[in-house]
């Protein structure tokens, strides 16, 4: 930075002196070659992730994800999972602003969800539980994704404490990219600070 400042000061002096220098010798710069701006843009390749084959990710899991994407939420606070025809409705857990600790009310919701998950696991012991952490729009990019992850981790800890095998749980943070409400008010932002539970058969 010091070097940059030094160079800049010298440059500014050069620029400044130019203004008052009427007898400056000049050189004529005539480029015979035309400058074309297209090359570096034309060669840019475009990739479409939606058309790619996911070869390195477990195909079964991928299919499960695809299937779950089609499941509609019955309400903004609940997520339905379809486990071989059986519908399991799990309530989303909500958090205070910039917090990732479960309060007593939300701990009860987590326990209630555990009961439904435990019942389902009895029939499908290969079941995976996916916890999706989400945030409101009031955060910075990277910090918000970490906050979403900490929220998912809090619900994972609750499930493990209740008796779920930790290896059957995967987590992902969507930061502020997955709002269930897009209005600009505190009630809406509160709904977006949540963890969604999804079951992957």
């Amino acid at each position: 930075m010091k070097n940059i400042l030094k160079k800049t000061l010298l440059g500014v002096c050069a620029v400044s002196l130019f203004a008052g220098c009427a007898s400056k010798d000049v050189e004529y710069d005539d480029s015979s070659m035309s400058t074309n701006v297209d090359q570096k843009i034309d060669e840019v390749a475009v990739s479409d992730e939606s058309t790619m084959v996911t070869s390195t990710i477990n195909e079964n899991s991928s299919n499960s994800i695809d299937r779950l994407q089609k499941i509609t939420n019955s309400s903004v606070n609940n997520v339905q999972s379809d486990v071989d025809g059986k519908v399991v409705v799990l309530e989303s857990v909500h958090f205070a602003f910039d917090k990732y600790k479960l309060n007593d009310d939300m701990r009860e919701v987590a326990t209630s969800n555990y009961g439904k998950i435990d019942e389902t696991i009895q029939s499908y012991n290969e079941l995976k539980i996916k916890l999706e952490g989400n945030c409101d729009e009031w955060g910075s990019d990277e910090y918000n994704y970490a906050l979403g992850l900490k929220r998912a981790k809090a619900t994972k800890d609750a499930l493990v404490a209740d008796g779920v095998n930790k290896d059957s749980i995967v987590m992902v943070s969507f930061g502020e990219s997955n709002p269930v409400c897009t209005q600009k008010n505190t009630a809406c932002w509160k709904m977006n600070r949540r963890v969604d539970y999804r079951l992957l058969p």
Binding site: L5, D29, V46, S47, E49, I57, S140, Y143, A146, N178
Partner: protein
């Protein structure tokens, strides 16, 4: 006699020194004035004429090496300049453009730069593009060439790409490259949720980003020109490339292999990752400082986001900022940090987020903005400028020219930005 000569020489030197000093002080505020005009015999392509001319003028303003003359002059491209009129209006440099469209529908821009003080044509150049949408790159090239004539500090950074991601819908985003004003835009990754793009090297021929195509997020590296896509790492929860070392060989990542977001150093040659922070809360957004021996990062160690520093390989963590209620974004260059700070206690509403510049080696702190929500700060590659997003009633892209204490805004039509790199 010799004493008289010595005294005379001494007085002469003294007088000259004073004069020279005064001249520099006098001229510090009198940058060369440039007048940019579009020739009346340009093809009838008013839109590109107007847009191109305005963007060249804006580029020259942003360079901070010119004063812009607002007088309107009508001229044909080949006509000799009316030097007398130009001098009377205090114009030092005179740039004439002529835009034409050839038989293959290619846009050709011819330029002539005149030095009014010497009554001379000093630069004559030609630029072309096949697409009107690419006129921002024509403008930046022309501004760079005019600046080069003055031997002023380089503004070659104007011709570099900016890369950013923007949200389109729930769990859907795209990655876009653009010129530094975000006027020209081209989508390079689409489909699904693809976020946190980061240039992989100074040549800008590849970039890293986070893909959500699998069950857990993956860190991808994509070549901009060959489309070669490489999956580097995956992590439960999140994975983000926060910074790339100057030589492109080391990355700072935020990832959570043990369900805990911490900062890691990743060697792209050995493929070995090393955990740098191990705090039970949130550590994110690591950036190299002091020749890559130290990182600054964002942590909630004080129960709110703030900026901390840590030497790589050592245990101690140093708090860097002692004001603000939410300091959750930072960017670094050499030994300098620019961070965004929320000034008020209210977590919602029209809070002011201001940008500050500080040194890691002294108590130096300088406030860079005064109002609005100023976020997503990013240093330019040479450390001379800051790019940021300013939100007031509407969003703008801001450029702060640090050495000149000036900032410029460009209207933003890009939707909700997720992340940006320069």
């Amino acid at each position: 006699m010799s004493k008289i000569i010595l005294i005379f020489l001494g007085l002469f030197q003294f007088a000259f020194s004073i004069d020279a000093t005064m001249e520099i002080i006098k001229n510090k505020s009198s940058l060369p004035t440039i007048n940019v005009v579009s020739a009346i015999d340009s093809s009838n392509i008013d839109e590109i004429n107007l847009k191109l001319m305005k963007l060249i003028q804006k580029d020259l303003q942003v360079s901070c090496h010119f004063n812009d003359s607002s007088i309107s002059i009508e001229t044909e491209f080949m006509a000799n300049p009316k030097y007398k009129v130009l001098k009377e209006n205090g114009i030092d440099l005179y740039l004439v453009l002529k835009v034409t469209k050839d038989d293959s529908a290619k846009y050709i821009v011819n330029t002539k730069l005149y030095d009014v003080n010497t009554n001379a044509l000093v630069q004559s150049k030609s630029y072309s593009t096949i697409s009107f949408a690419r006129y921002p790159f024509l403008a930046h090239k022309i501004a760079i060439d005019v600046n080069r004539y003055l031997n002023a500090p380089s503004i070659d950074w104007m011709d570099k790409f900016v890369i950013f991601s923007r949200y389109l819908d729930s769990k859907t985003s795209e990655i876009v490259i653009s010129d530094y004003t975000l006027t020209y835009q081209k989508v390079v990754v689409k489909g699904g949720l693809n976020i946190f793009p980061k240039w992989a090297n100074s040549e800008q021929n590849a970039f890293y980003y986070t893909s959500y195509r699998g069950v857990v997020p993956s860190l991808m590296k994509q070549n901009l020109y060959t489309n070669r896509l490489e999956k580097l790492l995956t992590s439960d929860g999140m994975i983000v490339c926060s910074d790339v070392s100057d030589d492109g060989k080391k990355l700072i990542l935020t990832m959570a292999p043990n369900s805990q977001p911490d900062i890691y150093l990743y060697d792209t040659e050995t493929k070995i990752k090393k955990r740098i922070t191990s705090y039970s809360g949130i550590d994110v957004g690591g950036n190299f400082v002091e020749n890559d021996t130290k990182i600054v990062f964002v942590s909630d160690r004080l129960k709110y986001p703030n900026i901390f520093a840590k030497k790589i390989g050592q245990n101690g963590v140093e708090r860097m900022i002692y004001h603000g209620r939410n300091n959750s974004q930072c960017t670094t260059s050499d030994d300098y940090i620019v961070y965004s700070s929320r000034e008020s206690d209210n977590e919602f509403g029209s809070n002011a987020f201001n940008l500050y510049l500080m040194s890691t080696k002294s108590d130096y702190v300088r406030r860079l903005t005064t109002n609005g929500r100023n976020q997503f700060p990013k240093f330019s590659s040479n450390g001379e400028s800051i790019l940021f997003i300013k939100s007031t009633d509407k969003s703008n892209l801001g450029i702060i020219r640090l050495n000149y204490n000036k900032s410029f805004l460009f209207p933003l039509k890009s939707g909700k930005l997720q992340s940006i790199d320069w």
